[in-house]
Amino acid sequence: MSSPLQMPAPGLAAETRGGSRRSQSIIPGFGLTMGLTIAWLSLIVLIPLSTVFIKSAGMGWAEFVAAGLSPRAIAAYKVSFGTAFVAAIINAIFGLVTAWVLVRYQFPGKRIVNALVDLPFALPTAVAGIALTAIYAGNGWVGQYLEPLGIAVAYNPIGITVALIFIGLPFIVRSVEPVLEDMSAEVEEAALSLGARPWQIFFRIILPAILPALLTGFALAFARGVGEYGSVIFIAGNMPFESEIAPLLIVTQLEQYNYAAATAIATVMLVASFAMLLLINLIQAWSRKRMDG
């Protein structure tokens, strides 16, 4: 691309005149909307998050490691990321089934089921946490049957996972649904006519097609689970080294006026989350690219 000050070669004049000035897109408004996007993201996301880094940069490296990578903090990361990961995987399976049922079949009460899926978005998370605790505690509706079997759900990482499954369900269902709706019946009929059995069609045709969307939903559910606080603290039991999640540890440090330690833990979580989301995005981009050529 030649700079506007240079004289273009005669033969290229027409091309260059049309092409080099400003954006080549015929859809107007790129400058304005991009500017707004950056300003908005800065105000809402980047500036608040950068204070975390600035605050933690104020402390020395040794101090940062001592606070951010203390055994208690590391145990908390393991609980947070581990439970969020397991919950997102379980959600991916059952969320896919839910989306499948909602897209493929007509049944009475479908609208109600549809609305139920979104409920975890709207409900105050504390309410969810308390309700789940009440049900899964040793004397609760469900807990009383599980306890004799030696399964305790409340007050340990299993309970955290249950809460995160509740929180994350809509992400999977809502990401997968539109892609399932878009899949043409012809593709499945083609596979059928070639002699494929239903399970082969699911694993070899449908699953690969919806995988990018499923990954998106997984990433969203996972990210939400890592940061979830409200519903988890009621059911978790919050035992350090056992069922203490990282967000709770941050709050605990804050309550003890230990701001430096709180920001150090926050920084580690931020970096880890960002790295994971970036990785998932890359996998997604790769699988999309393969399909769209």
Partner: protein, 349 residues
């Protein structure tokens, strides 16, 4: 041989097929031709086993397959919009039908790969096996779909509007190529189309359908030259229609006897159909049809003349050799219909 006996199919209160019977001969290239809503695609899907009839029977070589699903009928099906597996390479698409077989019937991997390449050669896409469908043009994708359908060695090939999504030039090339391929392989093939030109060019026999019933079955020649009903005459090829009344076996247009060679018909109101090329200019004499020229343009080696006849709403279309100079707009011509077809107008349909 494919037998279709008294097939009926309803979708809710809508009768898609109404008591259809048809025999398809082995090795035949058969076209199901009709406007949208004629039931042609439903019939094809019933033959494939993608849809099941409410009544009637489908048999392959005398064996009743009515209850068999598509996977068990050994048919190859090609869809209008290709329906390729987007996340698989072209070679994987073609090999799919072999690779989903149970372990006992599945050929070894190397053999599957060789077969896929062989089929890609056959559809003239050799060397493109590593591409993804998104990297191919429409015509190439449809050929991949065809290779994929042929991979399972079907006893019957079914094509649903196979050229419908392609542009005119590609369509024409692919059509000729498919005709050639059929000649090579001799596989019984049924295809659905709404394009009469396509049906007449490709098929050994054409089945013209409308509103869930078969209007006529015949060779392209029979369908074009001896349409059995006004619908077929109108739908296949270009047709001019005059409202006439038949008196003593001869057509009359507003009390004017028309001098035309037609198969005799019963007295009463009728429709006289004739093709644009079945006319010649005559004088003002008796039996000639007076026409006012309203438009003239070139159509290949002919002049296409549009003309008005008093008492007829739709302008007539007439072909005249471009070897002579064309008539002028506004000129009056006398036309003689060399060959016509009479269809009794019974109760209005």
């Amino acid at each position: 041989m494919i037998g279709i006996d008294n097939i009926s199919k309803r979708f809710g209160s809508y009768a898609a097929l109404n008591d259809i019977s048809l025999d398809v001969r082995s090795g035949e290239f058969l076209a199901l031709l009709g406007p949208s809503g004629s039931g042609k695609t439903t019939l094809l899907r019933i033959i494939a086993g993608l849809e099941f009839p409410d009544e009637g029977q489908v048999s392959f070589n005398g064996e009743d397959v009515t209850g068999l699903k598509v996977a068990d009928r050994k048919v190859g099906f090609v869809f209008q919009h290709y329906a390729l597996f987007k996340h698989m390479t072209v070679a994987q698409n073609v090999a799919f039908g072999l690779s989903v077989r149970s372990r006992r019937q599945r050929p070894p991997k190397a053999q599957i790969r060789a077969r896929a390449e062989e089929l890609l050669q056959l559809v003239q896409l050799g060397g493109l096996g590593g591409r993804y469908p998104a990297q191919l043009s429409g015509g190439q994708r449809q050929r991949v779909a065809l290779a994929r359908a042929l991979a399972v060695e079907p006893q019957l090939l079914l094509l649903d509007e196979p050229f419908g999504a392609l542009d005119a030039k590609v369509r024409k090339d692919l059509r000729r190529w498919l005709r050639h391929l059929h000649g090579q392989m001799g596989l019984t093939t049924i295809f659905v189309t709404h394009d009469q030109e396509e049906a007449l060019e490709l098929a050994d026999r054409v089945v013209v359908m409308d509103h869930g019933v078969i209007e006529q079955v015949g060779t392209p020649e029979e369908i074009y030259m001896k349409p059995s009903s006004g619908f077929v005459s109108d739908f296949v090829g270009e047709t001019n229609s005059l409202p006439v009344s038949v008196v003593a076996g001869r057509p009359q247009f507003f009390d004017r006897a028309i001098d035309v060679e037609v198969a005799p018909a019963g007295d009463g109101p009728a429709r006289l159909d004739f093709r644009p090329h079945d006319v010649s200019v005559c004088g003002e004499g008796a039996g000639c049809l007076p026409v006012l020229v309203t438009g003239v343009y070139r159509r290949g080696g002919d002049w296409r003349i549009e003309g008005e006849v008093a008492g007829v709403d739709k302008p007539l279309e007439i072909d005249m050799s471009a070897a002579s100079s064309p008539p002028q707009i506004g000129q009056r011509l006398g036309l003689r219909i060399n060959r016509g077809m009479l269809f009794a107008e019974g109760v209005q349909q």
